[in-house]
């Protein structure tokens, strides 16, 4: 059940958001789906657990493709706050810009943003791969715990504040590093991981050796009064 021939269309001018989400969430849902006239509605294609392909043809509001598992969601437009929030697996591809908190707390899966992401991209991420072709706003990867954040453009202030074990790769400038985030050596292993990520994100015109690598200095894992001023 795949291919354009079997693509099913949900027009939100004639169907409700609840009908859309419950259909896609229904046990056994499969194949390709197109969502027409999203008009920036919130919570489009959230909570999916079936391996469906969903194309949102236009701009999405808050929490698009939130809590995704196994589905592959493409947004042909911009996404509002919290796109792919708490994703577990599958993929979300935003063709435009994303607002703040993209991929927040995501445990797994792949989030690709072709444009810019707003503030707090990848906040508290726990294992996802987030690839941003443009720039990210301030406090991105704040308290990020695991996974990879790749930024082909620039990063705003306080990048990686209170970071745990997420790898951050930035190609452009970094306005400032947050507490306990430091530039790391780019080891051959890191380079290999980054090369794989760029390839996963469909980025062929940018080379891995153009990036810098940032990570946790691991001084703030446990509270020590000597480090109190660093928070």
């Amino acid at each position: 059940m795949s291919g354009a021939r079997n693509t099913q269309v949900f027009d939100l001018n004639t169907s409700t958001l609840r009908e859309l989400n419950s259909t896609l969430q229904q046990e056994g849902a499969e194949g390709a789906w197109e969502i027409h006239n999203p008009a920036g509605r919130h919570s489009l294609a959230v909570g999916l657990t079936n391996p469906v392909s969903v194309t949102i043809d236009g701009h999405a509001g808050y929490y698009a493709a939130g809590m995704n598992q196994r589905a592959n969601v493409v947004i042909n437009g911009n996404a509002g706050q919290g796109v792919a929030e708490n994703m577990m697996s599958g993929s979300v591809h935003v063709k435009g810009n994303a607002s703040s908190s993209a991929g927040a707390t995501a445990h797994g899966g792949l989030l690709v943003i072709d444009g810019d992401a707003g503030a707090r991209c990848g906040i508290s991420m726990k294992g996802a791969d987030i690839i941003v072709r443009g720039s990210v706003g301030h406090m991105s990867a704040f308290m990020a715990q695991s996974g990879n954040l790749v930024v082909c453009g620039d990063a705003g202030e306080a990048l990686g504040d209170s970071l745990y074990e997420t790898r951050i790769f930035v190609r452009g400038t970094v306005k400032g590093l947050g507490a306990d985030c430091e530039e790391k050596e780019m080891t051959p292993e890191d380079l290999q991981i980054l090369t794989g990520l760029l390839s996963k994100g469909g980025i062929t015109d940018i080379k891995a050796d153009e990036f810098r690598h940032y990570g946790s200095a691991r001084k703030l894992y446990h509270f020590r009064v000597d480090n109190a001023s660093a928070y």
């Binding site: 008009a39 920036g40 509605r41 919130h42 236009g58 701009h59 999405a60 509001g61 808050y62 437009g77 911009n78 509002g80 706050q81 435009g96 810009n97 607002s99 703040s100 810019d116 707003g118 503030a119 706003g137 301030h138």
Partner: protein, 299 residues
């Protein structure tokens, strides 16, 4: 929460649509603010004339008010009634006399705005109802700013509804909360400003008016507010010619903008843009924190 919308028309052919588009945007933002709504429309202006919007006029006192105004204004003055709001038009040099008359009238009548082109309306109720009450759909003009309020820190009253206008042709809408507004209000009162409410947003409006009265350009006034205003805010500001947007350094409050050759639009959420013409090809972006965005019509 609260919702903010703004529409600045670049292509004059779209000016007749200003009210209709603004009312659609306000209606969509109801979920962010169902308590009260308000809007300012910058419409036509005639040289040597001023307009004042006054609110809180009841059927009982409209007769006395109109007679008193026409007496204060002399001959060529006009009164346009929109429910409990009226727009007074009069010769520019009569501004102090008209202001004194309005302030002295009593009976719950309040000054709302004045200037060459601004008209300002606000009311309690669902945004759609407030817009319909004043026939926003039929209003024309160059730019408009609107607000839907979800009251969190003060009562649901018309006085607490936005926009706030504290200077000629100026108005401000705000989503957020300011933490140093009391200190700032005292300072501004010492500078000679007066405030009608305890609302933090009115202080922000007053601060901008004060900077503008000191000779700042709109963008300079907004730059200085970044240093002086403490708290969370997304502001949309209107002046006679201009339209500006500012977000605090943390950018907690949502904001999205869309620009085409025909207009610049602002909203708290993208949804509010969905009915704008040509939105599918607009440049849609999230304004950066601490950056002043502003547009002006040629004077």
């Amino acid at each position: 929460m609260c919702g903010i919308v703004g529409l600045f028309i670049k292509n004059p052919a779209l000016q007749p649509e200003l009210g209709r588009l603004t009312s659609l945007m306000l209606k969509t933002m109801t979920e962010r603010g169902p308590d009260s709504a308000g809007f300012a429309v910058y419409g036509s202006s005639a040289s040597g004339q001023r307009k004042m919007t006054v609110r809180g006029i009841s059927a009982d006192n409209i007769g006395d008010f109109e007679a008193g105004f026409l007496k204060a204004a002399g001959g060529s003055a006009n009164v346009a009634k929109h429910q409990d709001h009226v727009v007074l038009t009069y010769a520019s040099d009569l501004e102090p006399a008209i202001r004194a008359f309005v302030n002295g009238f009593g009976h719950g009548v309040h000054f709302a705005s004045s200037g060459e082109s601004i008209e300002l309306y606000k009311g309690v109720g669902l945004p759609e109802e407030v817009a319909a009450r004043f026939d926003l759909e039929k209003m024309q003009g160059t730019h408009a700013i609107g607000h839907t309020r979800m009251a969190t820190e003060s009562a649901v009253t018309i006085a607490g509804a936005h926009p706030f206008s504290t200077g000629p042709d100026q108005c401000l809408v705000h989503n957020g909360s300011l933490s140093n507004h009391n200190t700032l209000r005292r300072r501004l009162v010492n500078e000679g400003l007066t405030f009608e409410t305890e609302n933090d947003s009115e202080v922000a409006a007053g601060y901008l008016s004060w900077r503008l009265s000191q000779g700042d350009k709109l963008d300079q006034a907004l730059e200085s507010s970044l240093k002086e205003l403490d708290g969370f805010y997304t502001f949309v500001v209107g002046t006679r010619e201009g339209f500006a947007v500012l977000r605090d350094p943390v950018a907690c409050k949502p904001a999205v903008m869309a620009e085409t050759d025909d207009y610049v639009a602002f909203a708290s959420e993208y949804r509010a843009f969905a009915d704008l013409p040509g939105i599918e090809n607009a440049k849609v972006f999230e304004p950066e924190p601490q950056r002043v965005y502003h547009w002006e019509h040629a004077a």
